[in-house]
Symmetry: C2
Subunit: 121 residues, 2 copies
Amino acid sequence: MNEITSILKNQNYQIKTSFWIDLDGNRCFGKGKMQLLELIDKTGSINKAAKEMKMSYKKAWTMISELNAQFSSPMVVTQSGGKEGGGTVLTDEAKILMKYYIELKERFEIFIEQETKNLNQ
Amino acid sequence: MNEITSILKNQNYQIKTSFWIDLDGNRCFGKGKMQLLELIDKTGSINKAAKEMKMSYKKAWTMISELNAQFSSPMVVTQSGGKEGGGTVLTDEAKILMKYYIELKERFEIFIEQETKNLNQ
């Protein structure tokens, strides 16, 4: 038993966290943009993705526009014409970013699970 | 170089985090309550601490009251009378909680520093 354990009421304490990526001191990628990318990937449309997140198209567009500028290549591109009549798609770079975010989230989860275990032991 | 590095513009990306402790699924201790305890310790007064945090006495009192109920013993007690004319002081349990929080913060910092290093490498 460590010191902190002596002041706990039970073993239901949990360490929680939120995390994000900053660029030059400004938030550049986190939960919200991750969800937006996932929904664009699912729906093929910024408009539909914005609606699912209950945000305006303008707000979603601003987020995408920031994101496109904050990495070496755009994350989202709009294709026009073609058999499918165009649409909005994620680039390979967006897929790399999303994969990184998911893996980082897993590492955070392992970290806080261990901390939670140590806290309640 | 890992995959994610290939999409970065420069080496000024940083992993950032905030963290807190939940009890039974509700937030019970984090940055705000930590600051409140520090200020009560410094000023000997919930009222003065609340003013420094630009919150109402009622809000500060609610936070303390929650905190007192969320651990096995109260964190803050009000002493009346005596040579010093009473005052509000932290209990030993509060000192244990604050020490734990500071050490947890340090471990989070080490974790995100390493993640930031890996990201930009």
